[in-house]
Homo-oligomer: 232 residues x 2
DNA sequence: TAGATTGTTAATCGATTAACAATC
DNA sequence: TAGATTGTTAATCGATTAACAATC
C-alpha cells in the first residue's frame, strides 16, 4: 500500500537495494545510493579546480566519509579506479552521475510558494546538479499568474496539465501540512514518480512512487536529543 | 577528529546508540531517535484533536511506520503502554518529549539570511516543536541592523557574544557553501553543541558536536536514482 | 474468561568495518 | 622490485522483522 518511502526524515528505509544501471548486473544498496550525491558533488568540485586524479582518501575527506566506506560504495558501481594510483576524476564523475541517473536533467514541479517555496524557486543549485524547475503551482489566487523566478505561477487545476506538458518526473511539496497529502495525490495522479516534501506529515503513495521528506523541526529535535544532559 | 556527524544527507551515522534519559539505564538506538520526532508530532496532533488513548497501530499509521517498528522503538524508552488498551496520548507525548530533550525550549541562532535563511527565520513551526529563534547573523552590511522576523540582524563579529548571551545550543547554517566551515567553526567556538547545515559541504567538527545536514539537491538526486529507467 | 494489544526475545537482514589479496 | 592504492572477501555490528509470551 505504502510505496517506497525511502526516508522519513533522514533515514533510509524501503527496499534496501535497487537494480543497478547500465552494464552491471549487480545492485546498489540504499545506504550507498544516499551517499552518491555527496561523492558526485565532491568530484564536481575537484573537476572544477582542475584535479585529474584523486585517491579514495582525498575524495573521502572531501565527502566527509572514511576511505574504506568510499571504496566499498564505489565497488558497487564497478571497478573504476587504478590500483596504486587512484580514480580519474572526470571518468568517475560520469560513472556516478550515470548511476544516479542525472546525466540528463530532470524536470521538477514545485507546489506551494510560501516563504520556503519562494526560497526553493530562487535556489540556484538545481541546474548544476541535474534538475530544471519547470513549473510552479499555488492555490492563492493572488499569486496565480504572477511571475516567480522566471516562471508563471499556475493554479492547482492546471497541475496535471503542467506535469504532462513538461514531462516532470519529480514534484516538490512546500505547502502547509494540511494539504500535503492532497497535493501528493495530485502529483502522483499526474505522473510524477518522485516526491520531495517539506511538510511534516507522513505521505501515502503507491508502490511505484518514492517519497523523501525533509523536516527542519525533526532535525532540530534530533540535535536536541544529543545536546541534552542526561539527568542522573 | 570528526565529531558525531549524525547524518550526511539523510543517513544516520555516528554512534549508533546513545545514553538514554532519566530513569532508564538503557540506551536508544540512533535509528529510533531519528523516528521519535515523527512520533511526537503525531502525538501532538492526536492530543490537539482530543484523543486520549491510541493503539500502536493507529499511531504507527499516523507516523508512517509499521506498528511493530513503533512498539519496538517505544520499548527502548520504557514500558508506557497498557496491554489490551494502547497508549495514553498525553503521557506518551511527555515521555517522548522528555527523551528527546524538548520539554524545555532550545535557543537557536541562524546564520545566513539569503532566500533560505529568510524562509527559515519566518518559519512558524519552531516554537511549536521546542525551539526559539533567538538570533540572526549575516555578513552583508546592508542587512546588519535591519529587523527580520522580529530580530535585529547581527554582524559575524557579534556571533560569539550572541551565542553567549542567549545561551543558544544549536546553530543553523544557511550561508553559501564557501563560508560554511568558517561559520561552523565560529558557532562551535562560541559554544553550540548542535549544528544544522543547509550548505552542500561536509563539515568538520570536534567530537562533542553533532552535525546534521540537509541538502535539497542530494535529495532530488536520490529520487532521480529511483526514477531512472535502468537501461538494459 | 476471551479478546486485544503491548513488549520482549529470537531470527533475519543489511550496513559497516577489518583484513588482505590483487595490481598498477 | 617496492610502494601505493584499489577492490574483494570475511567478520562484526546494528536495525528490522517475526514469533510469542505477558497482561490488561
Amino acid at each position: 500500500m505504502t510505496g517506497r518511502v525511502v526516508a522519513r526524515s533522514p533515514l533510509v528505509g524501503g527496499p534496501t537495494s535497487v537494480p543497478a544501471t547500465s552494464g552491471t548486473a549487480t545492485s546498489v544498496p540504499a545506504a550507498t545510493v544516499s551517499r552518491l550525491p555527496g561523492y558526485l558533488h565532491a568530484l564536481d568540485g575537484l573537476h572544477a579546480n582542475g584535479t585529474a586524479v584523486v585517491t579514495s582518501q582525498e575524495l573521502a575527506r572531501a565527502a566527509g566519509v572514511t576511505s574504506v566506506q568510499l571504496r566499498k560504495d564505489l565497488s558497487f558501481l564497478g571497478s573504476y579506479g587504478r590500483r596504486g594510483v587512484g580514480y580519474d576524476v572526470e571518468h568517475l564523475r560520469h560513472q556516478v552521475a550515470d548511476v544516479l541517473g542525472v546525466r540528463e536533467p530532470h524536470s521538477v514541479v514545485l507546489v506551494g510558494l510560501g516563504n520556503l517555496g519562494h526560497a526553493l524557486a530562487h535556489y540556484g543549485g538545481f541546474a548544476d546538479r541535474g534538475f530544471t524547475l519547470v513549473g510552479l503551482v499555488d492555490a492563492d489566487p493572488a499569486l496565480v499568474g504572477t511571475e516567480v523566478a522566471g516562471l508563471v505561477v499556475e493554479p492547482p487545476e492546471r497541475l496535471a496539465e503542467l506535469v504532462g506538458r513538461t514531462g516532470a518526473t519529480i514534484g516538490v511539496i512546500a505547502t502547509p501540512a494540511g494539504v500535503a497529502q492532497d497535493v501528493c495525490d495530485a502529483l502522483v495522479a499526474a505522473g510524477v514518480t518522485g516526491v520531495l516534501t517539506f511538510a511534516p506529515r507522513a505521505l501515502r503513495v503507491p508502490a511505484h512512487v518514492d517519497v523523501r521528506a525533509v523536516d527542519v523541526a525533526s532535525e532540530l529535535q534530533i540535535l536536541a536529543f544529543h545536546a541534552r544532559r542526561p539527568r542522573a
